[in-house]
Amino acid sequence: MGCIIIIKNNFKRSFHKKTGFLMNLLLPILVVMLGIAANHVSRPSFILGVIGEDTLQNYKNVVNALQNTEGITIDKANAETIKVDTITGKYAAIVEFTGDEFEIYSVKDETTISSLDNLIKTYIKNPEPLEIEEIIGTAMSISKRTVGFIVLFLMITSTITASLIIKDKNNGTLKRYKYSPQKAGTYILGNFMYNFSITYFQYFISVSLMTILNISIGISYPNLLLMGLWATALATSFGNCIATLFRREMYATLFSTAAALVLSLIGGTFIAFEYMPKLLQYISVISPLRWFIDATANMDQGINWFSNIQIICIISVMIFVLLVISIFINKKNRVVTFSPDQ
């Protein structure tokens, strides 16, 4: 019952500044949509730059074959900016044809360059397009990256929503709450449920807009909504935990961004888990994003969300632990600082 009081009170407080509330509610949706769009834009692709005379037969055969090879895009490169173009990622590699010879310029690893070298040599002999999965490298599926981004953004936006806890700490109302017979846990759970409802609403709108605009990420709409419940619960418990740790909104916002970013990096949002160094693969178990991405891999194959029982349990435990930490910190938080009596 105490939780319901907190939820109602938080909504009342938020509603009083209607414009601010609406902006706080809708702006993250816009940002999440932009994030999803940015993710689509920024997906790694293997763009190959080529330099050579059109009169060279080898050059023409190979370019033709490469153009028809799935996963590779060809573009004419500039011989004067080979190094910078490979470093900036404009091209994954640049192949320069001179006579019968060719040279590959790339900052990629030896394996990739070697595979590309073999491919070009093969195409010189026989320009029939081949399957070249090992060259594409560490690209993750759209669905995994998108889910990773969404959870990352939810973690940041829910810390913003949880800043009511910081306001309560600073304006003395948390102290008044602690005078009452209500428990510290009730306060945290009430704020958790308030934050959950706001964050899930934002998630629901984002995902629904994605579906309406036909931005498919390979996961069905019902699965997205179900997964969203756990993603939101995790993001909310994370946000609440951060808010209980700090007395200043700025610190909470910056820390949540930093922590969410690190968790997403080690969780495999940017590099596929299989391509991560072994040590980080072990460490990644602590990142909730790792488990969401694993579940996404299953859902990509048409399996529904509830079939990921092990993953759901792990995420649920993480949510529970974060909530317990929040309650513990809230209980221990000194609302009275020692200073000479007035």
Partner: protein, 251 residues
């Protein structure tokens, strides 16, 4: 009168500094106890221990003869606090502020509405119940602060300098409120640096300094004792008993 609250040898240290040194006193039912002392005396720390925000390092606190640590929820239901710093939501109306804080004491439905109305009427803010505190004057905010602390009808009310920074009219209103509350049966612990308020309200005085109780007696005995030493007002007694040196803050 029975002992409503009995403090038995409580103490508190912060690092090497003893803030409250094994103090013991009683608050009888129906008292208005004036808790006074210079800055750094240990008043706020004592209040925080009584209100369970801080755990005493030693000693016990008894409410109606029972240790509060074993029945904290029941104790807190009977306790009301009016903190020195305003503790109200600027973004909720006066009505919603009182309603929220009152509801934390397990009061619901019609009873809740009734208590909210009583509290706001009592402090003279019923007509302003729909307005936001951000539009209130300092005195009105103080009165709302009081309403939030008394709405649930506590048996024991702690008021920590409730008249800081307000005009004489508002202060007078608050003092009348305190007297009325007491006449309805509420026991009050009242702290203030304004000795005329203590003189006007309290029937008992507890004087603290350096974490220790210097005086614990009824007001008349307190005055009589120091009248022999030439002290005519409570302020004279205060300065005589605690000295006139400035109390600088320690790091």
């Amino acid at each position: 009168m029975n002992d409503l609250l009995r403090i038995d040898g409580i103490s508190k240290k912060y690092g090497d500094k003893t803030v409250v040194a094994k103090e013991s006193f009683c608050v009888k039912q129906g008292d208005i106890l004036g808790l006074i002392g210079p800055n750094g005396a240990g008043k706020s720390t004592s209040i925080n221990m009584i209100s369970t925000l801080l755990l005493p390092e030693s000693g016990k606190i008894f409410f109606h003869g029972q240790d509060i640590t074993s029945r904290q929820i029941e104790y807190k239901k009977s306790l009301g606090i009016v903190p020195q710093d305003l503790a109200i939501y600027e973004d909720l109306s006066a009505y919603d502020n009182v309603k929220f804080f009152c509801s934390l004491y397990y009061i619901r439905g019609k009873e809740l509405k009734k208590k909210v109305e009583e509290a706001l009427t009592f402090v003279g803010l019923w007509d302003k119940r729909k307005e936001l505190p951000s539009k209130f004057s300092g005195g009105m905010k103080r009165r709302l602060n009081i309403a939030c602390g008394i709405a649930h009808g506590p048996e024991l009310l702690i008021m920590d300098e409730p008249t800081v920074g307000i005009d004489p009219q508002s202060r007078n209103h608050i003092l009348q409120t305190v007297k009325t509350l007491n006449s309805h049966g509420t026991t009050i612990i009242y702290t203030s640096h304004h000795m005329e308020e203590i003189d006007a309200l309290c029937n008992r005085i507890l004087l603290m300094d350096n974490g220790q109780i210097l005086e614990d007696s009824d007001k008349q005995s307190y005055k009589d004792k120091y009248a022999k030493k030439g002290c005519q007002t409570l302020e004279d007694i205060f300065l005589y008993a605690t000295g006139t040196d400035l109390r600088d803050m320690e790091e």
